[in-house]
């Protein structure tokens, strides 16, 4: 199991393309997941009876095996990037929905009361008070969802997509370990880099959390 460095240097373009494609699939899924989770979380947070129902659905979706999800989506969207993204998005929901609801729950009642008493209307309170204060908990979810999606993209190799996952099948089929090792290394690197960027983003977005008196 030695690395064939000449294969790597001969395939830098392919590796770059696969890495970018991998990242794009994962990030699109997280962004879509966030777009779906935010309104659903607001509903789950405000309408107590719907809370268990919505969180339950996201839990059930999470239990479907990933390969099965892609297979189930084939009649709908075929062997495309769309199928990959839809599948990954479904998985992000379980974390993003739960964390966004919990983030909104964590906003102190006193602070919401203050916003109301100052004459802030509900939508503005949500956007300028509740969501910013829920941000640390939401961001914790975004970080998990991002790392999870980056590791899951490879599964989509079964439907002809899969970004860096293609290196695994390639290596296995030819009994040639170098692409497999390169794929694993790049996936890990991608996950670590994305997580670090999210930590930095959270730092920028939550200035009030920086200095503790």
């Amino acid at each position: 199991m030695t690395l064939d460095w000449s294969w790597i240097s001969g395939h830098t373009d392919d590796l770059t393309t696969l890495t970018l494609s991998h990242l794009q699939a994962a990030l699109t899924a997280v962004l879509l997941g966030l777009l779906i989770s935010l309104p659903l979380a607001v509903v789950a947070h405000r309408v107590r009876p719907l809370r268990g129902f919505l969180l339950g659905i996201s839990n059930v979706l999470f239990t479907i095996p990933s390969i099965a999800i892609f297979v189930l989506l084939l009649p709908v969207s075929g062997l495309t990037r769309t199928t990959t993204v839809i599948g990954l998005t479904i998985y992000t929901l379980v974390v993003l929905l739960r964390n966004t609801v919990e983030g909104l729950d964590s906003v102190p009642l006193k602070t919401k009361e203050a916003a109301k008493a100052m004459g802030t209307r509900p939508l503005r309170t949500l956007l300028t008070v509740e969501l910013p204060l829920a941000l640390p908990v939401i961001m914790a979810g975004v970080r998990i969802a991002t790392v999870m999606s980056i590791s899951l993209v490879s599964v989509a190799t079964y439907i002809g997509d899969g970004g860096l996952g293609q290196l695994f099948t390639d290596g296995f089929q030819r009994n040639f370990p170098t692409p497999v090792i390169a794929g694993v290394a790049l996936t890990i690197l991608l996950a670590v880099a994305a997580d670090a960027l999210l930590v930095a983003l959270q730092y920028v977005l939550t200035p009030w959390k920086r200095r503790r008196a």
Binding site: K110, T111, A114, M118, G119, L133, R211, A213
Partner: protein, 345 residues
């Protein structure tokens, strides 16, 4: 300025918070709502800016029925100081104070300039504006809460136990500051507290509530202390009711004479600027707390009881001795204060 007309509030669980309240609060001055917890005083306050809706009856602010107004716009026109400040943890102090001007559509720059001016008004240094609420002490947070409520210059200010969460020393400072601010701004203030001493200190009028949301008495502090409407009010005012009345009077009218020099057992020792230092005798020294004309009759009585000679040291604004007053003179003025209060009430 604020009128309650046959207002009832019953919560969904059936509890009656406010029972048939009719009350007229004139413009200007501080009205304190007092009573033990669950007496409906906070509910009464919160109905003014529609944080709580009455079950029946009408509430008017400046002649206009609050129910007929847009709730958010109404709240922007009424300052509200919340228990334990209730500041926005994610906004700087300056932006906290600028909240209502921004909601009213003022430019950010203008709103912040106004906020910076208000920090000074409530006695905070300008650099506090850049900090976040959690970096401030409880007393500072409370001052920011007052500044935020004043930001849009509302004619009415609602204060819900604003000084309940700070220590007694800071509390007393904040009370002084509020009185000073009120002198300057003359707002119509409605103040909720369960502390009768705070009510006597701050109120131009005190409204006493009894459990079940019944208003028992609403009158000036002097009248309340001299003539409580019933046993409930008398009990709420406490056993030191007679002394509390003296806290409302200054000792300016109490006559003063020359300080005892050598010869007697005790001598009042002064420094070179004629500021009283302590009482001295062969047996030792007793500290003295000199009083100004603006100090209360209650503090004079207290000081005379503790003084080894029964005399209190009187000083002018600069702290220079002007004379001494006797326990007997203070006592007779205390009695006179009570008989005057009874006649006036």
């Amino acid at each position: 300025m604020i009128q309650f007309d046959a207002v009832h509030k019953r919560f969904p669980n059936g509890a009656e918070a406010v029972h048939d309240l009719s009350l007229d609060l004139p413009e200007g001055g501080v009205t304190v709502l007092v009573g033990s917890s669950g007496c409906g005083k906070t509910t009464t306050l919160r109905m003014i800016n529609r944080m709580v809706e009455p079950t029946s009856g009408t509430i008017r602010v400046g002649g206009k029925d609050v129910q007929q107004q847009d709730a958010a716009e109404l709240r922007r026109s009424i300052g509200y100081v919340i228990q334990q400040a209730g500041l926005f943890p994610h906004r700087t102090v300056l932006d906290n104070v600028a909240t209502v001007p921004l909601l009213l559509g003022h430019g950010r720059k203008q709103a912040r300039a106004r906020a910076a001016g208000l920090l000074e008004t409530v006695g905070l240094a300008a650099d506090v504006g850049k900090r976040y609420p959690h970096q401030l002490s409880g007393g500072q947070q409370q001052r920011v809460g007052v500044a935020r409520a004043l930001a849009a210059d509302p004619p009415v200010l609602l204060m819900d136990e604003p000084f309940g969460a700070v220590d007694p020393v800071v509390r007393s400072q904040l009370q002084d500051e509020l009185l000073r601010l009120q002198e300057e701004l003359n707002k119509t203030i409605v103040f909720v507290t369960h502390d009768i001493d705070e009510a006597v200190r701050l109120g131009d009028r005190i409204a006493v509530f009894r459990t079940g949301g019944h208003l028992v008495q609403c009158s000036s502090p002097t009248e309340l202390l001299a003539r409580p409407a019933d046993d409930f009010v008398a009990g709420f005012l406490g056993a030191e009711r007679g002394l509390k009345l003296l806290s409302l009077r200054t000792l300016a009218a109490v006559p003063q004479g020359p300080a005892p020099g050598g010869g007697g057992t005790w001598t009042l020792v002064l420094d070179e600027a004629r500021k009283p230092l302590h009482w001295a005798s062969e047996d030792g020294e007793v500290p003295v707390r000199p009083l100004k004309d603006t100090d209360s009759l209650l503090s004079a009585l207290n000081e005379s009881v503790a003084s080894p000679t029964g005399l209190i040291a009187r000083v002018d604004a600069a702290g220079t001795l002007t004379g001494v007053s006797s326990r007997d003179d203070i006592h007779s003025h205390a009695g006179q204060a009570h008989s005057e209060a009874r006649v006036a009430a």
